[in-house]
């Protein structure tokens, strides 16, 4: 996980959407500099229209940058060769609804030029992994949203990718499905894969991401390790156990005196939700690039 190999690198990556006449419509991304290392789970956060999906699409080569560059595995993002090592789960599973699960996976396997026996093996394994064995012969049009997410994930993994790009991976999943998805993301990370995800569900990001970047109006407002970012440095948290009822009122002064057992003393962490809302509010109050807080980019 601590390998220093850079998987994704963006250099002053900018995107301006223009209309038919070439007039500027939206400046969706402004000079994004980002590095994502091999083996980490990186989360992109931001409100709607902040440039998350644009960033992902630029990295995948689905959009072309207006200026700057996106490199994946050292190759330009528009180079199709990089795709051999990438798995992509789009925001909604944009799959062919007239195919069934087996046909879908076999089709995407063929796009990776995989031989038939390998395709059959991977298809069977992945259908088993996402728990859709009972519905593998049904057309995707008959699938529920959760089932579609699962088969979407399976197609993203058909090539055993080194980099997995997940756009809102838990959307549409029930709590159990969410938990399974998060466990799977962690397991994939443990297998040495790099994961780039974006999500609105901050709890999910908090649970799984090693590092996050927060985008607002096309600009990167915050970047750093999740545990560092969520640390509240000017507050000390004491967690104690085995205290009597009477002691609790005077606890701050008398813990040591009453011989209670101090379990942890340190900086409490806030929730990602609070951090996120704080950054957004601050960005709204002071438009422009925000001087990033002390969390730093270090691992």
């Amino acid at each position: 996980m601590q390998s220093s190999e850079v998987v994704i690198e963006t250099r002053s990556l900018s995107k301006v959407y223009r209309d038919f006449w070439g007039r500027q419509k939206v400046r969706a991304l402004k000079a994004l500099d980002l590095e994502i290392q091999r083996g980490e789970i990186f989360g992109l956060l931001g409100p709607n229209g902040s440039g998350k999906t644009t960033t992902i699409k630029l990295i995948l080569g689905l959009l072309f940058p207006t200026s700057g560059q996106a490199l994946v595995f050292g190759r330009d993002a528009t180079d199709v060769k990089k795709n051999e090592r990438i798995g992509y789960l789009p925001e909604e599973s944009y799959l062919y609804r007239f195919l069934n699960a087996e046909e879908t996976l076999d089709f995407y396997g063929r796009l990776f030029n995989m031989a038939a026996p390998l395709r059959r093996q991977r298809t069977a394994d992945l259908i088993d992994m996402v728990g859709l064995g009972w519905a593998k012969r049904r057309q995707l049009r008959e699938y529920s949203k959760g089932m579609t997410r699962r088969i979407g994930l399976a197609q993203a993994l058909i090539n055993d990718p080194e980099l997995i790009v997940l756009d809102e991976p838990t959307t549409g999943l029930d709590p159990i499905g969410c938990r399974e998805m998060k466990d799977l993301i962690l397991r994939l990370r443990d297998e040495g894969k790099t994961i780039l995800m974006c999500s609105h569900l901050l709890a999910d990001v908090q649970d799984v991401c090693d590092r996050i970047g927060i985008l607002y109006q096309g600009e990167l407002q915050e970047l750093g390790r999740v545990d560092s970012l969520l640390k509240v440095r000017d507050v000390t948290e004491v967690r104690a156990a085995g205290l009597s009822e009477a002691c609790q009122a005077e606890i701050r002064e008398v813990i040591e005196r009453h011989g209670g057992q101090v379990q942890t003393i340190g900086n409490p962490t806030t929730t990602l939700e609070e951090l996120f809302l704080h950054i957004i509010r601050e960005s709204e109050a002071h438009p422009g690039r925000r001087v990033r807080g002390g969390a730093g980019d270090a691992h």
Binding site: Y17, K57, L60, G61, L62, L63, F64, S67, D76, D79, V80, K81, N83, E84, I86, Y88, P90, E92, Y94, L95, Y96, F98, L99, E103, F107, Y108, R110, L111, F112, N113, Q155, N159
Partner: protein, 630 residues
């Protein structure tokens, strides 16, 4: 079925056509590269734009040459699946439905039922298949881009070239399967629809001619009326029966006797569905003054296909044939003509105009008038010149006379070499006297003064052989198949950068332009009367006719200069649009002509693929340089 522009043979055509193709391709490629770099520089600045252009070119070489068959196969399979999901079967059902009801509106009483049936099935199939693939190809990729399913494709290691080729191949597979099914069903429909027999109306049999001792008297009568016609029946003295040819066919008759009762059983229609193999000659004309000229008289017909010869004068239309071998024509020379008549007075319109056909030996000059016949408008005339010619109307020995550009008169054969005694014989041998080294001339003359015959090169031919109708029928469908491939190619190409409806309109536009590509080519070469588009506008506004010169002046000069530029553009457009009419073999099949492999099948097939390749490459570039997620 006039063939206005005869095709050269494959071997003669290929080298120059390939060069022409390469020239157009190089011009278009250079233009596209320059345009691409300009757009890149305008959008991204000089350095970045130029770099992007170079990168695109470099990628293109790999993308177009290193396609993976497995990926293309997968995308083809997807296009087939998608077509099935889009209910292409409905088109097939519609086709069956049209055939089921066709019996109501196909006139059984038509005097050319085979032509009617064949034209009908070929056009019905053409329209249905072309409409189907038009919709499939124009809407598929835009639908994928709109529904964003394309995003899961292009984020795999799929080249844009594979996406375009997979689509083209997929729809081609669907179209081909449907077309094959439709062709088989059409064939059965035609055969069953035309199949019929008659019964002899026994009461109509009447003895005719004089009775001969010991032999039965010949009889004539009629068959019953089936499919709007009946045949005249002859029974000769040996009891064998024959029927007249009616509505383009005749029937075999089997005669059976039991006691004193005779029964006649007619078989199915014969010679109704044929695939004649014509052998064409080279046409020249003989003027009223007896000189050889390239063109006959212009009677004011806007259609330049035929030119005319004056009746009651030495004028003649002359077809020179080569390679006429005895082994190929053991029964004599079967001649078929289809000439136009221009009457300067109406006369008895029911009656034809008298003309004659002669055979001439180009080496000796012996000219034998073998047949005087009554020519009728738009009625094909057939004649077999027998090996032994006895019943001719006149014979002569004449030289053909041609003036050289320098004004000298040349005779062929020279007049002092003419042997006039050749014409004094009572009997001629076709191959001995009239065909010299496989060369023979057929002369057509109009014998009525003040009437004219019009003829073009393909209006008289030797019926060299008969090919099988079944093979010819399916060759006709190859033409539809080629049109289908072109529509798919253009549809997919336009759909890589246009929305579905616009791509469809653009494809229809390309098809319509393609139908007029011959005219556009002539316009671009300055061969159309009235000048180019700008000159035509002046003539329209000033109500000038096409023949007068425009008044000299600045306006005329400016218009002519603008036309030179416009003609360059028209030349390019005429060359990038496929000549759709060239792939339409419906007339060949319907009129009963064999679609020869070389050149009529081979050249258009190569042409179709010559168009498909650049269309595919253009589609690739449009998709490659497009942001599919926007």
């Amino acid at each position: 079925m006039p063939i206005e522009t005869p095709l050269p043979h494959l071997s003669e055509w290929f080298a120059s056509a390939a060069l022409n193709w390469l020239a157009v391709l190089v011009i278009l490629t250079l233009a596209a590269i320059v345009l691409g770099f300009l757009v890149g520089v305008l959008r991204h600045g000089p350095a970045r734009g130029f770099g992007a252009g170079l990168r695109t070119l470099r990628d293109a070489i790999g993308d177009l040459t290193l396609m993976s068959p497995r990926r293309v196969g997968a995308l083809t399979w997807l296009a087939v699946k998608e077509s099935i999901r889009r209910r292409v079967v409905v088109v097939f059902a519609l086709f069956i439905l049209i055939l089921l009801f066709a019996g109501w509106f196909l006139d059984a009483g038509s005097n050319e039922p085979a032509k009617l049936y064949l034209s009908f099935v070929l056009s019905a199939t053409t329209y249905l298949i072309l409409l189907l693939v038009l919709f499939l190809s124009a809407f598929s990729l835009p639908a994928d881009i709109r529904s964003r399913t394309i995003q899961t494709i292009v984020t795999k290691p799929v080249r844009a070239s594979e996406v375009v080729l997979g689509r083209i191949l997929g729809f081609a597979v669907v179209g081909t399967v449907l077309l094959a099914l439709m062709s088989v069903i059409s064939y059965v429909f035609v055969i069953r629809g035309l199949s019929h027999t008659h019964e002899v109306v026994l009461d109509s049999l009447k003895p005719t001619g004089a009775a001969v001792e010991g032999k039965a008297r010949p009889m004539t009568g009629y068959t019953d009326t089936v499919k709007g016609h009946r045949h005249k029946l002859y029974v000769d003295s040996s009891g064998k029966g024959y029927v007249d040819s009616e509505y383009g066919h005749w029937h075999e008759i089997e005669t059976a006797r039991s006691g004193d009762k005779t029964t006649y059983v007619l078989g199915g229609p014969e010679d109704m569905l044929e695939a004649r193999v014509p052998m064409y000659g080279k046409i020249r004309f003989r003027s009223r003054e007896g000189k050889d000229v390239d063109k006959g008289i212009n009677v004011g017909d806007e259609w330049f296909y035929r030119s005319f010869i004056q009746g009651g004068s030495p004028a003649a239309a002359i077809w020179s044939f080569q390679g006429v071998r005895e082994k190929d024509f053991p029964e004599g020379l079967p001649i078929e003509t289809n000439i136009e008549i221009f009457r300067t007075y109406k006369g008895d319109i029911e009656k034809g105009v008298i003309g004659s056909l002669s055979v001439r030996n180009p080496k000796t000059g012996l000219l034998v008038e073998v047949k005087v016949f009554e020519a009728k408008e738009f009625t094909p005339f057939q004649l077999v010149i027998p090996r032994k010619i006895t019943g001719f109307s006149s014979a002569d020995v004449i030289s053909s006379r041609r003036e050289t550009p320098e004004g000298r008169v040349e005779f062929s054969p020279p007049q002092n070499m003419l042997d006039r005694r050749l014409a004094e014989r009572k009997e001629f041998d076709l191959f001995g006297d009239l065909v010299a080294d496989g060369q023979v001339e057929i002369w057509l003359r109009c014998l009525e003064p003040s009437q004219y015959f019009g003829a073009g090169q393909p209006d008289l031919w030797l019926r060299a052989a008969d090919a099988t109708f079944t093979a010819n029928f399916f060759k006709g469908y190859v033409g539809i198949w080629l049109q289908m491939l072109l529509v798919i190619g253009f549809g997919v190409m336009f759909s890589t950068f246009l929305s579905g409806p616009v791509a469809m309109l653009a494809t229809v536009g390309a098809m319509i332009g393609g139908f007029f590509s011959d005219f556009l080519t002539r316009l671009s070469m300055g061969q159309v009367l009235g000048g180019g588009p700008f000159e035509a506008i002046i003539r329209l506004v000033r109500q000038d006719n096409l023949m007068t010169e425009l008044d000299p002046g600045l306006r005329t000069t400016a218009a002519k200069m603008a036309d030179v530029v416009a003609q360059g553009g028209l030349w390019v457009i005429a060359h990038i649009l496929p000549p759709f009419t060239e792939f339409n073999y419906a007339d060949w099949v319907a009129y009963g002509f064999d679609i020869s492999w070389d050149p009529w099948l081979a050249v258009p097939t190569l042409r179709a693929f010559a168009f498909l390749i650049p269309v595919f490459v253009a589609g690739y570039f449009f998709l490659k340089t497009r942001e599919v997620a926007q």
